[in-house]
């Protein structure tokens, strides 16, 4: 299935901003992070289609997953 992956802040360093991947149907958020060598401890926020997601959440065809380190402001 096709999944769009978006990376933010320092996750972009040495990786990419946005990229489409062809992944097997059972892929979870955690597996996407692992594939990109992003440690779970570094992950701040995971959004799937703009909604907060758990790491174990399986993705579906056409999903957009956005990965952020812990960031803040205000």
């Amino acid at each position: 299935m096709k999944i769009l992956v978006k990376l933010f802040a320092n996750f972009r360093q040495g990786r990419f901003k946005v990229q489409e991947f062809e992944l097997s149907v059972t892929t979870t958020c955690a597996e996407v992070a692992a594939m990109l060598k992003i440690a779970e401890a570094e992950l701040g926020v995971v959004l799937v289609n703009g909604r907060h997601a758990q790491l174990a959440q399986p993705l579906r065809e056409g999903d957009t997953i956005s990965l952020f380190p812990l960031v803040g402001g205000g």
């Binding site: 802040a9 701040g44 959004l47 205000g74």
Partner: protein, 576 residues
């Protein structure tokens, strides 16, 4: 011993007073709000002689505690009609604290039309007539006063907007680089203008160090506290690298970035104005990605933004400003927004109120959406020159909405709603509705928990848990605003267990007292109740704790959600 400096602008006298016993344990917001509640008639006209303008450094300001150099400024607000506290960095809080000035209270009003200046020394206040700098912008005022005194002189000043008593006018405070930090929200600049004070200079010659009751205990606590700040990924790494503007992309992804005057939750040009792009631009042009608004800030969320030729344009370039002129006004270039930010600092208008106002002005057809150059022109030629149109714009979002018959006017208690859509980030909607200050994100920053996974997680799109979240954060924030601490210490405080106890230990060591965590929570509760008491006496009711109607009926994409709290659910907030 700390003193109260009091200035009466009606008869142009000043006095140095003992600190009343019930004010002794207070600082920052706790003190300004207590003084305003005790001494200001709630129904008075905010721009009349019965309002008072109060400045107070925080309880820990002037000590070596990290990030403790914030000053609170309070009065009845001409924008909202409520009590107001607005805090800012800059050099003056630390000067006040070291000079033993617990608070400066400015009351009365000159009967003539002249402007004045105040000069503060350890001995008291000198009032002088001022004519030379009237009509000048804040940067020129700071430059002239440094030339007249020296580089170390502290300056608190208003621009043309404050002189003209516009409700969006702010008060500018000189920072360590002779640039500007602002008491932004609520029109405090108009109150200073109504007192006919163009600027305040602070000469701290002869000020000693702060006495600390238990220096050893203080040192240990201060070290633990600083370590917690630096260990936390947000305070130690994210903020100094990307500034607060890192939020553009995350709010955009989450569908909570108010766009085109709160019509959409996502902005197509988000990447142009994002923290990531800003970071790369700053590095490329030889600016600074990190910078502190006062000496002793170890988080350093501020930055120095240069133009293409490497020349300084602005600093303290915040997410709210960039969101407001960017997504909300659909301006797609950071350079235009940076130039506008500099002009807002110079003429002295709140960059949040003004950015929200421009969204409404664009909807009204005064200028097209996306017109960055138009914003710059209106700031300089209309607001800066105090024309009739400039006065309407300088009155804020509500003023423009009323004048032009716009129905989508994002304000609560007439104060512009900042950078998070309350329909898709529901916790912050409760804060906007119930804050004693009018719409104010910092009053109870639920974004931490709704969006950023700091202090746990409460789903931003559900109603459950939002009232309690906002209440807890508003109570904690009121207490933190009294310490002189920058609000960003909340990120580590929410996540790192040693952080808050270390903060309380520092207060205890400073004053030789034994506050507990519960005492601090009680302080927060008391502040909120004091402020609400003032507002109720000024004529506000629970019916004012509501969001504008359009949030109930216009769904915001991409989640297509509306604001769906009932009145009873919102009113639960005050059940404590």
């Amino acid at each position: 011993m700390d003193k109260i400096f009091r200035v009466n602008m009606t008869d142009l006298t000043s006095s140095v007073e003992e600190v009343p016993a019930n004010w002794a344990g207070l600082g920052g917001r706790a003190l300004t709000s207590t003084i305003v509640a005790e001494e200001v008639v709630p129904t008075c006209h905010p721009l009349g002689p019965n309002n008072k303008l109060v400045f107070a450094p925080g309880l820990l300001s002037g000590t070596p505690a990290a990030n403790s150099g914030r000053m609170s400024c309070g009065a009845k607000s001409p924008l909202t009609g409520t009590i107001k506290e607005s805090n800012a960095g800059g050099t003056s809080a630390q000067q006040f604290a070291k000079m033993g000035i617990k608070a400066l209270i400015i009351e009365g009003q000159p009967k003539n039309d002249k402007f004045y200046s105040l000069h503060l020394t350890v001995d008291g206040v000198k009032i002088a007539e001022e004519s030379e700098l009237i009509g000048k912008g804040n940067f020129a005022v700071i430059e002239a006063l440094e030339a007249k005194h020296d580089k170390k002189i502290g300056v608190i000043t208003i621009g043309q907007a404050g002189e003209a008593k516009m409700a969006a006018a702010n008060i500018s405070v000189k920072d360590p680089d002779s640039k500007i930090r602002s008491h932004g929200r609520g029109g405090m600049g108009a109150v200073m203008g109504s007192k006919k004070i163009k600027y305040i200079t602070i000469d701290s010659t002869g000020a000693g160090a702060i006495t600390i009751a238990d220096p050893e205990k203080f040192k240990v606590a201060a070290r633990t506290f600083a370590k917690a700040l630096l260990d936390h990924p947000v305070a130690g790494e994210g903020l100094p690298t990307y500034g607060t503007n890192v939020l553009v992309n995350i709010l955009n992804e989450a569908g909570g970035l108010p766009t085109r005057n709160f019509t959409y939750g996502q902005f197509k040009a988000h990447d142009n104005i994002s923290g990531e792009t800003m970071h790369d631009t700053i590095v490329e042009r030889g600016g600074k990605t990190k910078h502190g608004c006062h000496a002793g800030c170890i988080i350093q969320c501020s930055q120095v933004y240069n133009d293409k030729d490497g020349k300084y344009v602005t600093s303290g370039f915040e997410y709210e400003t960039i969101w407001g002129l960017g997504a909300n006004c659909c301006i797609e270039t950071l350079d235009d927004i940076a130039e506008a930010d500099n002009i807002m600092d110079d003429i002295g208008v709140d960059s949040i109120e003004t950015a929200v106002m421009f969204g409404v002005a664009m909807e009204a057809g005064i200028l097209p959406f996306g017109d960055g150059k138009g914003v710059i022109r209106l700031l300089k030629e209309e607001i800066g020159k105090v024309t009739p149109l400039g006065r309407i714009l300088g009155g804020g979002a509500g003023s423009v909405g009323k004048t032009y018959g716009v129905t989508r006017v994002p304000v609560v208690k007439n104060q512009g709603i900042p950078a998070y859509d309350p329909r898709s980030v529901k916790g912050i909607g409760i804060t906007y509705a119930t804050s004693t200050m009018g719409a104010d994100h910092t009053a109870g920053y639920t974004i931490a928990t709704n969006i950023l996974n700091v202090g746990g997680f409460v789903d931003p799109l559900q109603k459950e848990g939002q009232v309690e979240l906002s209440r807890n954060l508003q109570i904690a924030t009121a207490a933190v605003d009294s310490t002189g601490m920058c609000i960003f210490i909340a990120f580590p405080a929410l996540d790192i267990p040693e952080c808050l106890p270390a903060l309380i230990d520092m207060i205890n060591a400073r004053f030789g007292i034994e506050l507990t965590g519960d005492d601090v929570t009680d302080l927060g509760k008391n502040i909120l109740k004091t402020e609400r008491g003032f507002n109720l006496a000024a004529g506000f009711t629970n019916k004012d704790d509501r969001l504008p109607e359009f949030f109930n009926v216009d769904p915001v994409p991409p989640h297509n959600v509306v604001w769906d709290f009932t009145d009873e659910e919102i009113d639960e907030f005050w059940n404590f």
